[in-house]
């Protein structure tokens, strides 16, 4: 019985992964299209990212040793694992463990694995890129944490599923209405999380030869792309669950995610790249202020929890 359940879950998980990957790739393609249109280009087809991924997975590549391989897999697997705890619309694969901080830390393991892989290549460009990525992470995770904690305090629960349930019943129940400042902070943090301009220091192609990815080719780059796409889905999904009240079905969920991503793309299209220390300190100023302010408001509104 347990095995059957496990197999069901396994197949469901596989499905979720595929869906997330597809959505992520599609979003990427749409993003490129939108970007092209903003720049008055025709742009690649929506499906360009699928073709790119397919090509990458079929292309030859070089490996710098087993740590390189392990790192790439370790960069991809935990992201997929984190996905399993995300409420996607009404459906959550493992609702009992969908603790928000846990998901955040699983995502970090993905970064850790990715970092291990790219650093094992021994290329200084990847090291510089990784160092920038990590410094940026110190920036955006702090306001994001403030927001997470204020949501915790507001919802009095740490389960994403329950946070979603609490927002049921219409637009006015959404956390975006109740915690607008927090949403704003999250939206800015999301820009950094997705590594879009002005926060794309880590993979500055003309500057440090695409940073962490400098030695990645073929399937390794493909894995990186999968990680990025799933990460895109996951991160926007978390924000949707946190602030936009989840969704009654999958399509609305994706639509909401897309709205978020659309904002990110628009910002990406019009802003130049900051220097890394400017970016980091930017996150410690406005977004952190917003996040903390939100938390303080929540504390004042709700009073301190009784322990």
């Amino acid at each position: 019985m347990v095995i059957v359940e496990f197999l069901i879950k396994l197949s469901q998980g596989f499905g979720i992964g595929a869906l997330a990957l597809a959505t992520g790739l599609l979003f990427g393609g749409i993003g490129r299209k939108i970007m092209a249109r903003i720049q008055r280009r025709y742009g690649p087809p929506f499906t360009q990212n699928f073709m790119d991924l397919f090509k990458l997975l079929s292309k030859g590549s070089v490996s710098h040793g087993w740590a390189f391989d392990l790192g790439l897999v370790a960069g991809f697997a935990p992201m997929l694992a984190a996905l399993m705890f995300l409420p996607i619309g009404p459906f959550t694969l493992l609702p009992s463990d969908s603790s928000l901080i846990m998901i955040v830390y699983l995502m970090m393991m993905a970064y850790l694995g990715m970092a291990m892989g790219v650093l094992a290549s021994g290329n200084p460009n990847s090291a510089i890129g990784m160092s920038r990525a990590l410094m940026l992470m110190v920036g955006y995770e702090v306001p994001f944490a403030a927001v997470i904690f204020s949501v915790y305090l507001f919802s009095k629960t740490g389960y994403l599923t329950q946070i979603v349930t609490q927002q049921a019943g219409g637009f006015m129940n959404w956390n975006i209405v109740k915690m607008p400042l927090g949403f704003l902070a999250t939206e800015i943090a999301l820009q950094g999380m997705l590594g879009e301009k002005p926060f794309d220091q880590a993979i500055a192609p003309a500057e440090i030869a695409s940073g962490p990815m400098v030695e990645l080719g073929g399937k390794y780059l493909g894995f990186g792309m999968i990680q990025h796409s799933v990460g895109l889905f996951l991160e926007t999904g978390i924000v949707v669950d946190l602030f936009l009240g989840g969704a009654p079905n999958f399509w609305i969920f994706i639509a909401k995610q897309f709205v978020l991503y659309f904002i990110v793309i628009l910002v990406d299209a019009i802003l130049p790249r900051l220097r890394i220390h400017e970016a980091t300190s930017f996150f410690w100023k406005l977004p952190l202020f917003l996040g903390i302010l939100q938390a303080v408001i929540v504390i004042i509104q709700g009073g301190v929890l009784n322990v």
Binding site: M102, S121, A127, M137, V138, Y152, T157, G158, V214, L305
Partner: protein, 620 residues
Amino acid sequence: MNSLLALLIVPVIGSAAAAVLQRYRLVERLITFLTFSVTFLFLFEIKIGDILTWHLDFLGKNLEMGLQITPLSIFMLYMTIAFGIVLTFYNLSERSKMKGFLLLLTLAASNWIFMSTDLIGFFFAWELMGWSSILMIFGGKREEESRHGALYYAMMSIGGSYSMLIGIFLLSNLTGTFSIQSNVSYLTLILGLHPWWVLGIVSLFFVAFMVKSGIFPFHTWVPHTYGEAPDGFVPYLSSVMSKYGVYGFLIFLPLTSGAHVPSVLGLAWPNYVLLWFGSVTAVAGSVLAFMQDDVKKLFAYSSFSNLGFILAAIALFTPIGLTAGMFHAFNHLLFNGAIFITVIAVISKVGTTRMSEMGGIWQKMPLTFLTFFVGIAAAAGIPPFAGFGSKWMIFQAMISHGLIFATVLLFFASIASFLYLMRAFHAIFLGQLSHKYDNVKEVSAIGKITEVFLLGALIFFGILPGFVLDPINSIVNSFGLKPLPTSGYEYINGFFSSINMVSIFIVVIVTFIFGFALFAVVAKHKKVPQEDNYTAGQIPQDWNLTPEMYQFSYDFYEPMDKELAPFLKVKIDGFFKGFGESVEYIGEAIKEIFTGNVQIYTYLAVGGLVIFVIAGWVVW
């Protein structure tokens, strides 16, 4: 023989034997290891509530001294002795200059600290632990620096323990007893009447504990000392010895739990202050750590940063806070031990502690690399390894009190810990392998066994935290708090949510399997040597490009310096150093009194006499 006494006697006997036989290094190490093991065996003999008292004819009184086993002390004993066994086992193959007899004295002291029911015994053991560890640090590799580090530690530690000494007597003069329990209950009794007075005394104690744990602003000795201590001893120093402070805090923390003192966000304000000390420590440690190039110093900072987490959590003194703090203490012991043991393994092979001179060791020491990887993953709080659960609980404990600023600070420290861990990981193991290290070999069989054991422990306690949480719950219970509900070995129950670690583990494993499968299915890769690297078209051989030149690990987070510069200007280290220097300056001046000229001495004597006579005249 009484097993409680055996916990003190056996290490002392072992210490004497090791001291006599210290000329034969292997025998000495074997004795050290065996003594730890035998002491551990005696642990099975004791149970909670065991008590042993004796009387000491001292100070003209018949003072009662005693040993007692509480849930907390047995937890600490198991933790520290077990770690000691692992470390001494590892040291069997290490050629570090650690003196086993001092380590065993430290063990005796530590056992006594955890069991003592009276302040005399506590202070005795505290000082014993202090000096034996100081002498141990003298054996470091870099001689000037290790001396400096040990003296720094000695000054702070002795200063701290004198502060505690004053506290002990201020207390015992009021109560007329040295018993810890009656003194604490006395303090609890009068806390409402004289809060400032009680807190004054308690803070005298806390200074000693803060020094030992390296809590801000007494953290400055930590990098100097950890950085220079003998390699074989550093893991013990950072994993075990920093926990004495935690134990000490836990003695006095029940004070404010039931008292009527002003509170901040539902937290008694002394605890609130303590929590801030913890948070600031966590941040300071993390921030300072990622500026480091010396690997031992880096993890020294990391160590006290984690102690900040622990302090912040136990300062809450709620069931979840206490559980989280103790759990993190355990996890810190584990992952810090793993990290430091692997680090010293690498140091012993490459012969330097500067990270910018290492790199690429993973190719030579794969098992060490894996252990280190899991260690830092645990240290960064990544599920499903040990270390995640406790950090996760700490955040929940903090946020459940609405302590948003402190929580954000701690989260920042946690992310920053990710930074320095990554930096160490990169600089030591990843990147380019220098030709200097072509002959580096994996650790010996003993080292491998140790590493596999630690690796296993990190995963085991990560996915089955209940084995640690159960004893912690009984500790929480013994403090009169309601322990968190338990629902099986695989569950961690937080305030806001609970997590089934096994299911997370399974999910991660499945995704990993899937990842590897995908990796194997898609197009093949080919293995290339390290020189075949993107060099913007330049051919490395043509330009004598050595791996060291192609390794970026020095000043890894240089851009951050700009942002953090204002905070780094606050130099507490400099304060202590300046203080020391001015004392020395005064000493130079005072020394000039003794000029060597007998007439000056006569003048002094006659002058002194005249002053006394005049003073006597005036007073009379």
